[in-house]
């Protein structure tokens, strides 16, 4: 308290000294000046105060208090809620805390033209945002994911790969829905990929299609939807444990939920090494536009499985992915600047995102039931693992596991669910490549 009073006293002293200094300068100018300046001398005391007041006024006009809009305040509160959710409820804190901080950073009100905002060329945030706009961060994240992922359950049971493809129905259904709601083709494509439940893929595709730079055939510029799409994708990924279980209970009967799958066979190291190379060749030959994503994914996996590059794999799955996640989270959060983010489009995107997750989950579950008709006895699959076909690694696999345990406490589905889970990643990257090659 004492310090506050002291600081206040010093400040007021400085303000009282200023007129004295100001008077001197003014009178000296009056001596050498014209009649106009002499009139200034007459009311110089007032003018100095006026000047000081004006200075404070201009300063005030530069502060956040003067420029704050209700949109900014709403977004800042949302940012704080994100941080709170991340800390208190442990909902994907590694994502929500950077994004929440980014939302606050991006919505601090400022005067345009001083290279502060993320959308002003030359600002620091703009340089960091470059990695998002040009789609640099997502492939680096995929490199780390590849170096983390164990594809052995997929190699042991390749038919589960189809579940990952079935869940991509969500992508294309949302794409159609967005078209019906009046979005352009590229924008709709970028919105659809939310159904892929894969944050990096969604950012990659939206940075290519709905980046606010591309010009459409009819001369209009596409909207910048990277912020809303990324936020929608990540927040629904965090909500997978809420969205999926009711759908599972709705679509899968109690007996089906109890199906036990035989344990996956042991996979040799040779197969694990061959997998990334062959999968890289096959998938990128089919969908070359997905090259940055799939190339990095399988490259990271090869680093892990080759057994010779443990150091590189270790860096990719720990330090590198952490660095990129920090930059990606903060800049994606900051891209939600209120005047660009709070629009009707963002609301529509959030609605479509929820629907796409529902459709993707249903697609996976129903396709798993469909597959079960052709499988006999031991080979039957538990339809619950179809829900893991939406990527959201590894949350959806974990949700499947928990649901399985609820109906049969000794039925462990985690390993089986990882197979459609990782094939969902591959599937959504391929889908992104296809959409990009159609609309890019």
């Amino acid at each position: 308290m004492k310090k506050v009073i002291l600081i206040f006293c010093v400040l007021s002293l400085l303000i009282f000294i200023r007129p004295a200094l100001g008077l001197n300068t003014n009178s000296s100018s009056a001596n050498s000046g014209t009649a106009v300046s002499t009139t200034q001398v007459d009311d110089s005391g007032d003018s100095v105060f006026e000047g000081a007041f004006k200075g404070i006024k201009t300063f005030y006009s530069y502060t956040g208090f003067a420029n704050a809009t209700s949109g900014n305040l709403i977004m800042i509160i949302i940012g704080i809620v994100f941080i709170y959710l991340g800390i208190k409820y442990d909902y994907e804190p590694l994502l929500l805390i950077p994004i929440g901080t980014g939302v606050i950073l991006g919505n601090i009100p400022f005067v345009a033209g001083n290279q502060t905002g993320i959308y002003e060329t030359g600002s620091v945030l703009n340089y960091l945002y470059f990695g998002v706009v040009k789609g640099i961060y997502p492939p680096l994240i995929f490199l780390g994911i590849g170096a983390m992922t164990d594809f052995s359950s997929l190699i042991a049971n390749p038919k589960l790969m189809l579940l990952g493809a079935a869940a991509q129905i969500g992508v294309f259904a949302t794409f159609l829905g967005a078209l019906y709601l009046g979005f352009n083709l590229p924008e709709a494509g970028a919105i659809g990929i939310i159904g892929g439940a894969d944050g990096p893929t969604a950012i990659f595709l939206s940075s290519k299609l709905a980046n606010g730079v591309n010009i459409l055939a009819d001369g209009t510029v596409v909207k910048n939807l990277i912020g809303p799409i990324a936020i929608a994708a990540y927040s629904y990924m965090a909500l997978v444990p809420v969205i999926q279980p009711p759908l599972m209970r709705l679509l899968i009967s109690k007996e089906d939920r109890k199906i036990r799958m035989k344990p996956p066979r042991a996979v040799t190291q040779k197969e694990k090494m061959i997998f990334p190379v062959v999968a890289l060749l096959l998938t990128t030959f089919i969908s070359p536009s997905a090259l940055p994503l799939l190339g990095m994914l399988f490259f990271g996996n090869l680093l892990k499985e080759s057994g010779r590059t443990e150091r590189l794999a270790d860096t990719a799955r720990t330090k590198l992915i952490d660095i990129v996640t920090i930059l990606l989270g903060v800049t994606v959060g900051a891209s939600t600047q209120a005047d660009i983010f709070i629009t009707k489009d963002s609301l529509l995107i959030f609605g479509l995102g929820a629907i796409s997750f529902v459709i993707a989950t249903c697609g996976g579950l129903l396709f798993a039931k469909f597959m079960n008709r052709f499988l006999k006895g031991d080979n039957k699959i538990n339809p619950l693992i179809g829900a893991a076909g939406v990527s959201a690694v590894p949350d959806s696999a974990r949700v499947v596991h928990h649901e399985g345990l609820k109906s049969d406490p000794s039925n462990y589905l985690l390993m089986h669910a990882m197979a459609p889970n990782v094939s969902g990643v591959i599937g959504s990257a391929i889908a992104a490549g296809i959409i990009l090659s159609f609309l890019g």
């Binding site: 190699i155 390749p158 990952g164 129905i169 992508v171 083709l185 096959l282 094939s423 591959i426 599937g427």
Partner: protein, 119 residues
């Protein structure tokens, strides 16, 4: 009126993308699945022929060099390791419990620049 055909055009193109996209995604993952179901065993078999060496299973690996290594020896080693690890905490460094008191140097507390001994 001019907007309407454009609108329906977009929707129809959307359906084209929907169908082809789904087909391609499925076909890509089906080829992957087929390859790993049928192609990979062939590949591994060919590799085996090229290298002309059978992959050894664990049961086939014979332990000849370690014939003298009996269960008793293993038990003895195991017991020794166990005892060693068990006793290890007895030899902990005693310094751990005593923290060195840090006295950062400051001219205010200096013994050199006192009033008694002028430089």
């Amino acid at each position: 009126m001019t907007v309407l055909p454009l609108f329906t055009d977009q929707i129809s193109e959307g359906y084209v993308i929907l169908i082809t996209g789904l087909l391609i995604v499925f076909s890509a993952l089906v080829t992957l699945a087929l390859f790993f179901n049928f192609g990979l065993p062939v590949l591994l078999y060919v590799y085996k022929i090229i290298t002309k060496r059978k992959d050894k299973k664990i049961s086939e690996i014979k332990v000849e060099a370690d014939r003298d290594f009996t269960g008793e020896i293993a038990a003895a080693i195991g017991a020794a390791v166990h005892m060693y690890l068990d006793q290890q905490h007895d030899h902990e460094s005693a310094i751990l419990t005593i923290k060195q008191v840090k006295k950062p140097y400051s001219p205010w507390s200096s013994k050199i620049y006192g009033t008694q001994n002028r430089l």
